[in-house]
Symmetry: D2
Subunit: 278 residues, 4 copies
C-alpha cells in the first residue's frame, strides 16, 4: 500500500484518485492530526512511507519518493499545458530547450534531474554559492548551477522554455519570468507566505500575453506520481552510482530536535529514523 498524503473527498477529482487536484479543498491531509508541531516535510518520512521500497539497497533513499512525487506531478502539468502549442523543436525533441529551476534545496535538485530526463539544457539558480558536494551532484546529472548574485543579468543570451520556482519569492519569480521564451511554461511550486512583496508591471503582463506564456501552480501528487517517483529513484540509483544516497545529508533520531531549529550545513534531505526496523 502506498500511503498518499491527501485522502479523497467527494469532488470529481477526488473521485478518480486525484485528491491532489481537489476541486473544493475538502480532501483531508492524512494523519497530520497526531503530529502537531512537526513540520510537514518531516512527517512524510515516517517509516510507514517506506513500505513502497522493494529493493533492500533503496531503503535509505526511498524517502526521496515523497518530494519527488510532487515533481513528477508538476511535470505532468507541464506536459498537459504545453500541448497548447507545438512545444518541442522541429525534430520533435526537447534538445536545445532551456530549463531553469529557482532554488537549491532538495526539490530543486529533483526538478533539475527530471528536466534532464526530458533533455532540457538545465540550470539551477540561487543568489548564493552552493557547497562542492552539491556542485558535484549537479555535474553528475549535467545540471548547470548559477549563482545569480554574481551574474545579475543571467540568463542574458538565451531564453527559458521552462521555469520552475521552488522559492515562493514573488520578486525572483517576476525577475525570471521576463526571461521566459515564446510558449514557455512556468511552474510555481515553492510557497513562502513571509516573502516580501514583489512588483509586477504592465510590461510583465504584456510579456506573458504576447508570448503565450503559461504559469501553473502545482501542489502535491497522486498515487500514480508516487509510483513514477520510486521508479525514477531506482533508475537514478543504478545509473548515477552513489549520487542518490548523497542526497540524504543527515539521519536524525526522533528525540534530536535540533533539526527543527537549525538548518544543517549542506543539507539536502534530512531524515528522521523512527526505529531500527525497516
Amino acid at each position: 500500500m502506498v500511503p498518499v498524503v491527501r485522502r479523497p473527498g467527494d469532488c470529481p477529482n477526488c473521485r478518480i484518485g486525484r485528491p491532489d487536484n481537489c476541486s473544493d479543498g475538502k480532501k483531508h491531509e492524512a494523519g497530520i492530526t497526531g503530529l502537531h508541531g512537526f513540520m510537514r516535510d518531516y512527517f512524510y518520512e515516517a517509516p510507514e512511507n517506506l513500505v513502497l521500497v522493494r529493493s533492500k539497497d533503496l531503503s535509505k533513499i526511498g524517502v526521496l519518493t515523497e518530494p519527488l512525487k510532487n515533481v513528477v506531478k508538476a511535470f505532468e502539468v507541464f506536459e498537459k499545458v504545453s500541448t497548447r502549442a507545438v512545444y518541442q523543436n522541429q525534430f520533435s525533441t526537447y534538445e536545445g530547450k532551456k530549463a531553469l529551476i529557482i532554488g537549491s534545496a532538495c526539490e530543486a535538485f529533483l526538478y533539475a534531474f527530471v528536466a534532464r530526463e526530458y533533455g532540457f539544457t538545465t540550470y539551477m539558480a540561487n543568489r548564493h554559492a552552493i557547497e562542492d558536494t552539491k556542485l558535484q551532484m549537479c555535474q553528475n546529472f549535467d545540471v548547470n548551477f548559477v549563482d545569480y548574485s554574481k551574474d545579475v543579468n543571467f540568463p542574458d543570451n538565451f531564453e527559458l522554455d521552462l521555469l520552475i520556482d521552488t522559492s515562493g519569492d514573488p520578486s525572483t519569480i517576476v525577475r525570471f519570468l521576463r526571461k521566459v521564451n515564446y510558449n514557455g511554461v512556468v511552474i510555481l511550486f515553492g510557497t513562502n507566505g513571509k516573502a516580501p512583496d514583489g512588483a509586477i508591471t504592465g510590461n510583465d503582463i504584456d510579456w506573458i500575453v504576447e508570448r503565450n506564456i503559461t504559469v501553473c501552480g502545482s501542489v502535491d501528487a497522486a498515487r500514480i506520481h508516487y509510483e513514477k517517483a520510486l521508479d525514477l529513484i531506482q533508475k537514478w540509483h543504478l545509473g548515477h552510482a552513489g549520487v542518490m544516497s548523497k542526497m540524504i545529508t543527515g539521519i536524525y533520531k526522533p528525540e534530536d530536535t535540533s533539526l527543527f531549529t537549525v538548518k544543517p550545513a549542506g543539507e539536502i534531505k534530512s531524515v528522521i529514523k523512527w526505529n531500527d526496523i525497516e
Copy 2:
C-alpha cells in the same frame, strides 16, 4: 480567402498554420508597413477582410470577426490547459461554474458571450458603470455586469473558475486572482504597458500553487479561429436579433480622424468604412 494578420515564419508552429503561437517571434504582421500611423485595430477592418462574409445581412457585423477570433483562440487555450484536472462538474458540464471578464470594451463583451456558450454563470466587471445599451446587451446574453467600485469585495460569496482579463492592469489582475477557485484558469489577454505597477505577495503565489491555478497569456489567432468566429457571429446574429449590429457603435469615413483622438461615447466597436462597395 481569409486574411490572417500574422504571416508564418519557419518555426514549428508557423509551419503548421499557427503563427499566433510562433516559437521565435519571426512571423510577420501582415501589411502593417503601409499603414503607419493607423492603430492596429482599424487596419483589420479594411474592406478586403469582409470577403469572409457570405450572408448579405452580415456585411456590417462581419468586422466583429477580427476581435472575436482572438477570443476563440483564448478559449482553445482554456480547453487545453483545463485538461490538467477534471474541470467540469460531476455531471460533465460547466453548469455552476463562474466566469468573470475584467473590462467592458468590445473584447470583454465577446469573451462574455463565448463564456455563455459554454454555460458559465458569467460576470463582466469594471470599476465604473456602463451605458444602458451595454447593460441591455449583457442581459440579452445573460451576462451579469458588476461595477466593482461599488462592490469592493466582489465576488464575496463565490469563487471564479475562469478569469479573463482585458485590461492589462496588474493590480486588477492580482486583485481578482485571489478570488480564483481550485483548478481555476486565468486568461491574460489585455495589455497596457502604461499601467501602474501592481504588488504581488507571497500569499498570492501561495494561492496559485495550493489551488493548482493556471494563468495563460493568449495573443492573436489562427485561420481556424477566424472560421469559428464568423460562425459564432452568424449564430448570434440569428439567435439574438439586433444585438450584434448594436455592437457596431459607429461607422466612420477614413478622413474622419476624430476617432483616433477622442473615444466615442458608448463605443463598443467603431468601424472605418473604406468605400461604399462591399
Copy 3:
C-alpha cells in the same frame, strides 16, 4: 432537468458524469424496465425529454436532441483521438479534408451536418438512391449524397480523412476503410448484430497500421452532449430555415403500432406524441 439515458454506476467514468464511458458496464439504462417491447429509439422521445427545449418553436424538433447527442459525443471522441498527429491542414483548418458517412437514416444526416460544422467536404453514402426531400436536405447543408451501388469504386480519386459508419455492416465498413487516408479517423456507431459476416484481410490490417489509422467505437452520450446537441439544433433551426422540421417525417399516436412493423416511406425521424400537452 435533462434526462440522460444512462444512470451512473461507481466506476471512475460514472463518477465524473460520464456513464456513456462506463468502465465496467454497471451503469443503468434509465426507465427501460417499464417499456418492454418498445424499441429503444422511440423510448427516448417520451414527452419528459422535451423539457430541455426552451423556445416554443423548437418544441417539435427538440426530439432530435436524442440522436444528435450521440453524434456530438462521437465528435468529441474524434477530437481526442485525432490529437495523436497533426490532423488539420497546414493552415490549421479542416478545409480540404473529406468526411464520409455510411448510411442515410436520421443519425447519418446529423453526422453529416456536424461534419459540415467543422468544414469537412462531406459525403453521405448508401447503396441505394434516396428521396428528393432528403437530397434537398443534403444540398441545404452542402452534403454530397452518393449512391455507391452505381459508383462501385467511390471514392476513387480522393481518400477519406473521417469515416463514420451508421450501418453496423462489417463488409461495408471494411470496404470504405481501405479508402481512409493517412491519420484518418473511423467512427463506428451503427450496430447490427444480424449483419452478414465480412472478411478482413492481412492487407486491411496493413492499411490501418501503415497509415496510422484510428478506429473508434462510440456509444451514447453524457449531459454535456445533450446541451451541445440542443444548441446545434437551435442554430440549425435558425440558419437553415425549415430544414430541421423536415427531419421529423412523421408524428404518430402511441396506439398506432404500425410504426414498429413497417418502415414509413421517406422516414428520417418518426416521433410518437404521447399526449397533447408539451
Copy 4:
C-alpha cells in the same frame, strides 16, 4: 546524430519532425535504395546507427533501440487516444489493468516490457510454446506467457484493457478483440500481407461500439522515440542484469546469408556486425 529511418516531406507532420505520422506518404525512407534485397529489419542495424550509444557496455544492445523506438511511439499513441475516457483506475494508476501482446518475437517482448513500466498485469501470447530462455526473460520482467493453443478460451476470466498485435493476422486480432474491456485500446503494429483472411461479424462491430473501444494502427517512430528507447534500454540494462544482452540471440557477418533463409532457433534479435570497429 540519431539516424531516423524516415526523412521528412512537406506535410504538417513532417514539418514538425514527425515523418512517422506523415499526412501524405511523401516522406522518404532513408538509404533503402542502396540495399536492395536486404530485409528492412537488418538495415537498421548498420553500424552508423550505433553512434547513439554513449556507454561502452551498451554497444551490443544499442541495436534494440531500433525496434524499441516503434514501441515507444505506439505507447505515445496509446496515451493520446486513452484520454477519450478515464482509463486509469480509481486510484489514478494502471494497477489491475490487463495488457496482452500477441506474438513472441523481439517487438512482442519490448511491448511487454513497456507495458510493465506502466504497471499493467502483462501477458504475452502465442499459439505455441516458447523456449525456456524466453520464458525466463518474461519472468524477469513479470510478464506472463500464454500458449493459447492449449488454453483456447484465454483469457476467460478477465478482460483486456490493452491489446497489442505484432502478428498482423486478422483472425487472431478479431479473436482477442472480443476479449477487450470497456474503454480498451487496441494497438495494431504487426503486418503480414500473406496472412489468411479473417471474418468480422456484426457482433464484433457491436462489441467495439458498445464498449467505446479504440483500435489504432501505429507505424514507425520519430526522433523523440529513439531517445526514449535508448533511455529505456539503459534503464533495463542496469535494472535487469544480463537480460538485455540475452535479447541479442545471434551476431552474424554480412557474408553469412543463412540468416535470411532460415530463422535461427530461439531467435529474438539477430544482428549483422558490419565491421569490427564500433
